[in-house]
Amino acid sequence: MSLEEPTPDDGAVETLPTGADEIAELLGDLVIDTETHVNAPGFVIRPDTVQETLRRLRDEAGFDHLSCVTAEEREDRYESIYHLTSFDDRQREVSVIVPTTKDDPVSESAAPVFRTADWHEREAYDLVGIDYDDHPDLRRILLPETWQGHPLSQNYDQDRPQIVTLDEWENPLAEDHREDEGDTMYINIGPHHPATHGVLHVKTVLDGEQVADVDPDIGYLHRCEEQMCQTKTYRHQIMPYPDRWDYASSGLLNEWAYARAAEDLNDIEVPEYAQIIRTMGSELCRIASHMLAVGTFALDVYGDFTAIFMYAMRDREKTQNILEDLTGQRMMFNYFRLGGVVWDLPEPRDEFFETVRDFLDDLPQALEEYHDLITGNEILQSRTIDTGVLPPEVAKSYGATGPVARGSGIDYDLRRDDPYGYYDELEWDVITEDGCDNFSRLLVRLREVEESAKIIEQCADLLEDWPEDEREIQANVPRTLKPDDDTEIYRAVEAAKGELGIYIRGDGTDKPGRFKIRSPCFSNLQTLPEMSTGEYIPDMVASLGSLDIVLGEVDR
């Protein structure tokens, strides 16, 4: 348990360097230059000192959360940016910038320090083309192995023909076990499979009933979300895309991620009234998303379209009806605008509030049914308790956030730790469970639904009493937004699955120079091998269900 706390006592916590000067002092001559990002100080380091710098920041300054790795190609150099923050204090942030030359883009890998860097750097290699020295397994992650070129690099020719083969995947352990008369068995799960929640491909090697090796293969839904956002204008064109990242009805939460980053980048103040509407809508989305997670998890564990799935769908229909009244669409809301929301609550307002309150009134009974059917069920308990164990220090190292981290007892929620919207004015709690297993993650989701309901109720009260002439739904935002050249920001919100971060670099035009999405599911999915190696194969399927990944967000 001592690993949970990087700092031994309270005295040391106070001395943790937070200011730019203190961090610069800690890093000493590792720093060759400094930059200022909107969210954090940035330190430029040499490409061969990445591990040393990150290790020092993690061990001596408490930056134990590598939130994101952004790679981009600039006019004269390649750049990898490591966005570091802390699980204990989310508002302490620092960016470590690693420039490399154009002709030899080799940078030291951070994977030995933060395990989450493994996939992030593979993605950077795949899309931008930076090589990472000392990386355990540097190959393409999102695009097919046969792809030619790196699509987010500057001189990529998009019209070039590409070839993709469909090979039978080879058993990665085959060579090791060939002498042992083949006691392992290779199972290909997906990409078309009911238990993978979309188009995930899990290469699994079984030893008897137990999982000997598991390798999630992603990229079957990589639909160029970052490229799409980079070719659209800030003001209106980007907003429809976030709805499609995490499409399990968490549209408003995703829109908020973009809205928050772009508003902070352009210094836009959102009216209080609009913030409350945003908060209420987002929590409705969170309920819908958690309902789907619970329903499909039960589907995975019980193996058929049973009552729980249908109940979950029934409750989702209710939230979707409310959201449709509010936004005009069932799933792809496109409701937020920079500086507010697109329109006010639907008229007649009384009727809308009545619908919301009816839903909230029915919710406790519905949750009671879930607890009767799922968490109180002995069969499900024996399937999920103590399976898929993810210890907190491992979860932190992989950058797991959201219900996955909170199910491992990590008290980390951006709504409270890095407040935005109207959350800090409302009464609610962050839910954590200490079980670290599949059951805890399920329980966290079900209990978070209650907290979301609390938030919605308070928002509805506030909105109902809001004076009629002060209902300002949008700030005055210029028609065209052009942030200054070289302004960089990394901002995150608590989406349904965890920390959803957006990195934007303004380049003086009305379109982002680089738009990077830090998806919570991407990091959460990385923990799958950790959770399921050595477990039984059905437990791996349950673990996958409890991670609640949405492939649209994993692959972007």
Binding site: P161, P191, R223, C224, Q320, L551
Partner: protein
């Protein structure tokens, strides 16, 4: 004997009257259930005459096993279509099968990207004939909002033939039900799309630049391997 053979199609009504038939025709009592409108229309004959292939088409349209196939956003709406409130099962099309070998209809619900297209093709190939395809959402029509992406297939028709396109992003469950109903109508009328598969080719790299990766692939190619070649410039 001989007189009967001379007039084979004339039946004496009085000779085939039975008690059961009486009950059916006159109604009342426990056998009332036989007195449906259908019975009135068909008269006493318990047979319906139709062409066998027409009958088969009607059967196919009336009992469709759908492939449980989720890709992207649309699959969430597809799940809603299958489950409570919308309940596609009411339209004789609501049995999602996990295995393509048991399915008649594949709903393609989402964006198809380069890595997934060969897999989808394989799943489609594994379905038994006759098989039908419903393309759900704008992405299966043209790539939808992601059409300009470097990795996005410009519509499902590039890979497999599509019978019905349901537009929308995503289409509402009602729209999908309408699409499925239209497909049932088409099947009942004996129509389905001609199979035209464009860019899925085996061992045809002739028109590609022979760089090292093409050569390597051409050397390694196996007859059973599925190879997709994407010519993004010529895609619609």
């Amino acid at each position: 004997m001989s007189s009967e053979r001379d007039r084979p199609f004339v039946t004496d009504d009085t000779q085939v009257q039975t008690e059961t038939r009486d009950a059916r025709m006159t109604g009342g009592g426990a056998d009332n259930r036989f007195n449906s409108k259908l019975r009135e229309a068909f008269g006493s004959s318990p047979f319906i005459l139709t062409k066998f292939d027409q009958f088969m088409n009607w059967v196919r349209g009336s009992s469709m096993f759908m492939l449980q196939f989720g890709i992207a956003c649309c699959s969430i709406e597809m799940m809603h279509t299958y489950s409570v409130k919308h309940d596609l099962d009411r339209f004789a099309a609501g049995v999602p099968r996990a295995s393509p070998r048991q399915a008649d209809v594949i709903i393609v619900p989402g964006t198809i990207v380069s890595k997934f297209a060969p897999r989808m093709k394989r799943v489609y190939d594994q379905m038994p004939e006759p098989k039908f395809v419903v393309g759900m959402g704008s992405c299966t029509i043209s790539g939808g909002p992601f059409q300009e992406g470097y990795n996005v297939i410009k519509g499902a028709e590039e890979v497999i033939p599509v019978d019905i396109h349901v537009p929308g992003c995503p289409p509402r469950p009602e729209a999908l039900i309408y699409g499925v109903a239209k497909l049932q109508q088409r099947i009942a009328e004996g129509e389905s799309s001609p199979v035209t598969v464009k860019p899925y080719e085996l061992e045809q790299f002739d028109d590609l630049e022979q760089d090292e990766i093409v050569e390597k692939l051409a050397d390694q190619i196996d007859e059973d391997d599925l190879v997709m070649r994407y010519n993004w410039a010529d895609s619609p």
